[in-house]
């Protein structure tokens, strides 16, 4: 049953993040069920960012496989692309917010139904904050790969980073589909 303790810790951390978003999305549903709810369209930019983060998961896996095969050159390219895509996702989310503002959906609204917009901003914003932490982790791994600190004999950090990154991808997919279904 024994596992690398730190990897296990990453899994537990992800469990607690799931609980945070579980709480927020349940709060969302409870509030929505009370009525007085503004129906909204998700900004088109969110479709693009969903594509970006899916792609970044693929490049992350590519980086992982390259490191595993000791193709450090390829791994450098792949992890760099992942980092760029991570930043692109964040920029895209920001642009999505500007689209929301243009559509008249604000964090703070004047009438009772505006709370749906507040939820939208808080949920996507908090996810974005987690992606910021993920990008920092990717950058740490990137530096380690460039310094030959990560290779097929020393994969733990790479694996933890990949796990967390795929998790953030999966988390966004959940939030995106949730927001699509429960507008």
């Amino acid at each position: 049953m024994a596992m690398h303790p730190k990897k296990f810790g990453v899994w537990l951390f992800m469990v607690s993040v799931v609980m945070i978003f579980g709480a927020l999305t349940s709060a969302y549903m409870v509030r929505q069920a009370e009525g007085n709810w503004l129906d909204f369209e998700l900004p088109t930019m969110f479709w693009v960012t969903t594509g970006i983060i899916l792609l970044s998961s693929a490049t992350m896996h590519w980086a992982y496989l390259s490191v595993k095969k000791n193709n450090i050159e390829t791994a450098r390219v792949a992890i760099s692309i992942t980092a760029v895509l991570g930043v692109a996702f964040l920029v895209g989310q920001w642009m999505g917010w500007t689209q929301l503002v243009a559509a008249g959906i604000h964090l703070v609204g004047r009438d009772a139904s505006a709370v749906s917009g507040s939820f939208l901003y808080v949920i996507s914003g908090l996810h974005g904050l987690h992606v910021v932490s993920g990008v920092i982790f990717v950058l740490v791994v990137l530096v380690a790969i460039f310094r030959f600190k990560i290779h097929s004999k020393n994969l733990a950090q790479m694996e933890m980073c990949a796990t967390y990154w795929h998790f953030l991808d999966g988390l966004w997919l959940y939030l995106f589909v949730f927001l699509l279904l429960y507008r």
Partner: protein, 627 residues
């Protein structure tokens, strides 16, 4: 740093190549302040917890003065409380609410969560599962310093002109969300939220470490069925923490948005001074759902470690195996699961659908089943035991007593119909102070008395321990028992002044008794404090195994150094409760003694296990001991 590197290896049980005879001569800072050693971190949590327990206890005595002696002139408190004493020599009513709020917050989170789990999970998990240290010493250190930061932020809020948060420890909006509502909802509440956010980080770091260590870093032969019940309790506590504290974070996050950014998650159409606030459409009940989804599991975060500690101490000092080892684990698991699906029993009077209420009532009452299993197991462990009344044992038995008396009133309160009368009365106060407050507090004290020899290498004075126990035990009952009566009469909690109500004026004498008992109980804690600090330096030197216990921590040197065991970590061959085994030479067999060395006391199936034991114990890990 050596210990953090050992985990890279594939087999986490092999630490042999890492010699711990070498000295880690750290300087003062790395040894005592920014230490990554689990024992030092545990002591840091303990000392900070004791500090907060004193602060929290003193706060309660101040508001008990107001309740027990409504006409008293409190002018003499002016040097400490300054402007919070009105010119008439009275306690400021808003400060009274701040006192109640801070007492609750400090006791629940800082003392009985960080002080209890932080101390004993950190101290005992590596020592009892046979590990050099926690999975991540660095995160463990961060966990303490986040807690320290959190408690400093809370401390700072006492010195604000508007005072600390005053909306109750449950910080229900709209009271907590609107600075116009009460002074404490201004900066004090902001600091409360900051402090709690830091606390949640600390708690999560700790919990993740505890779970990881228990699952991944057990020594050879330490299967799950050979874990002491303390470890099982800390393990479940940490799991509950990982699942529930993030929800408090979400609740607090939305509250922060409502307070600071003008959103309306919880706030709905409020008029103050005839003017409408911009908030509209929010649901204050939503906060209560989110809060109590943490809040109820939190009760078990506080209680389970204490139950685990008392299981261990009662078995050791009854010189008997714990009765129903697996039933104890099962009941803790059941309690842990149930703790997540009963939260709405705190909200019976929020206008909840009565049908929903009856479901939560049913689930709540089911908790009585595993709780009763635990109490019966304690009693049957004590039954016909060769009981040694050490101070730790007395406090553990005291815990069982409080757990029973406080638990029974839980059955009253869990009924949604009876709760209509009892909600927010002193009956509730009496209930949770006994079942969760005092029981956990006694578990903490029991743990300190029992493991003090391992923590500081010296014994605490037993005579002072007995005095401390009897004063505290009788004191606690004198404080909380009368509260049941005034609670049933409808006396509401959190009221600053009750003398204007004809109905309640008959309770002046009971309230006075409660207040006097509270003062005496708090004073008795100074006996403990003296004993604790005096024994730390001047106590009798502790023998290697002062209580003749079976668990692994007593196989370490008197003052275990960084890495806990010089040389190899011992292997484990049996469960931790081989006390008074028929045929055995002594009345206890440590976990490190193989069955091959105890042919006189082995049961038939244990003789079967001998051939699986090799001299170095490496074969023993395959064996799941049957008990």
């Amino acid at each position: 740093m050596a210990t953090t590197d050992i985990h890279i290896q594939h087999d986490v049980h092999h630490h042999d190549d890492h010699s711990h005879d070498e000295h880690h001569e750290g300087n003062f800072w790395t040894t005592y302040i920014f230490s990554q050693d689990h024992k030092t971190i545990a002591k840091q949590f303990l000392i900070t917890g004791i500090f907060w327990a004193l602060v929290g206890g003193t706060l309660s005595v101040i508001f008990r003065l107001q309740l027990g002696f409504p006409d008293m002139n409190l002018e003499w408190l002016k040097p400490i409380l300054g402007g919070w004493i009105t010119p008439e020599g009275k306690l400021d009513p808003e400060f009274y609410l701040a006192l109640v709020t801070m007492h609750g917050t400090i006791m629940v989170f800082f003392v009985l969560t960080a002080g209890l789990s932080g101390t004993f999970s950190n101290f005992l998990i590596p020592l009892q599962v046979g590990a050099r240290d926690m999975a991540s010493g660095f995160l463990n250190m961060l966990s303490y310093w986040f807690f320290f930061l959190s408690s400093m932020v809370m401390l700072v809020s006492f010195f604000l002109e508007t005072g600390p948060a005053a909306g109750g420890w449950t910080v229900y909006p709209p009271l907590s969300a609107l600075p116009q509502a009460i002074k404490g909802s201004g900066m004090g509440m902001t600091l409360w939220l900051v402090s709690m956010a830091l606390f949640i980080v600390s708690s999560l770091l700790g919990s993740i470490n505890y779970i990881t260590t228990v699952i991944n870093m057990r020594t050879h032969g330490m299967s799950f069925t050979r874990l002491p019940l303390t470890i099982w309790a800390f393990f479940f506590t940490a799991i509950i923490g990982v699942l529930s504290f993030p929800v408090l974070f979400s609740a607090a996050l939305l509250l922060i948005f409502d307070r600071s950014f003008g959103t309306s998650f919880y706030l709905s159409d409020i008029f103050i001074g005839g003017e409408a606030l911009p908030h509209t459409g929010g649901s204050p009940i939503l906060f209560q759902h989110l809060f109590w989804f943490l809040g109820h599991p939190e009760v078990y975060i506080v209680l389970l470690p204490a139950l685990g500690i008392s299981s261990e101490i009662i078995a050791t000092n009854s010189r008997k195996p714990i009765f129903g080892y697996k039933a104890m684990i099962g009941s803790m698991l059941f309690i842990a699961i149930l703790s997540f699906i009963v939260w709405a029993h705190h909200m019976f009077v929020t206008g909840m659908n009565p049908f929903l209420g009856s479901i939560f009532m049913l689930l709540t009452l089911i908790i009585a089943v595993p709780s009763a299993v635990k109490i019966f197991n304690y009693v049957t462990t004590l039954w016909k035991g060769n009981i040694r009344f050490t101070p730790g044992m007395l406090f553990s038995i005291g815990l069982v007593s409080f757990f029973l008396t406080g638990g029974i009133t839980g059955i009253f309160l869990g009924n949604s119909a009876i709760d209509i009368q009892l909600h927010d009365t002193y009956f509730v106060v009496a209930h949770f102070h006994l079942v969760m407050g005092s029981a956990s507090f006694f578990g903490m004290l029991a743990g300190i008395y029992h493991w003090f020899p391992k923590m500081f290498g010296r014994m605490m004075n037993a005579k002072l321990g007995y005095l401390h126990f009897w004063c505290t035990f009788i004191g606690v009952y004198l404080v909380f028992f009368p509260m049941h009566y005034i609670g049933i009469a409808g006396f509401p909690r959190r009221y600053y002044s009750w003398t204007n109500f004809e109905t309640f004026s008959g309770f002046a004498d009971l309230n006075m008794l409660v207040s006097i008992a509270a003062i005496v109980t708090l004073s008795a804690q100074f006996i403990f404090l003296f004993n604790f600090f005096y024994s730390m330096f001047r106590g009798r030197l502790a023998p290697a195994n002062p209580w003749n216990a079976t668990t692994l921590e007593w196989t370490t040197p008197r003052n275990p150094q960084h890495g806990n065991w010089p040389g190899e970590i011992p292997s484990v061959y049996r469960w931790p409760y081989d006390y008074s085994k028929p045929g055995a030479k002594d009345d206890f067999i440590p976990q490190t003694i193989p069955y091959s060395e105890t042919p006189e006391s082995n049961l038939p199936h244990e003789n079967e296990l001998i051939k699986l034991e090799t001299s170095n114990g490496h074969g023993a890990i395959i064996v799941e001991g049957k008990h």
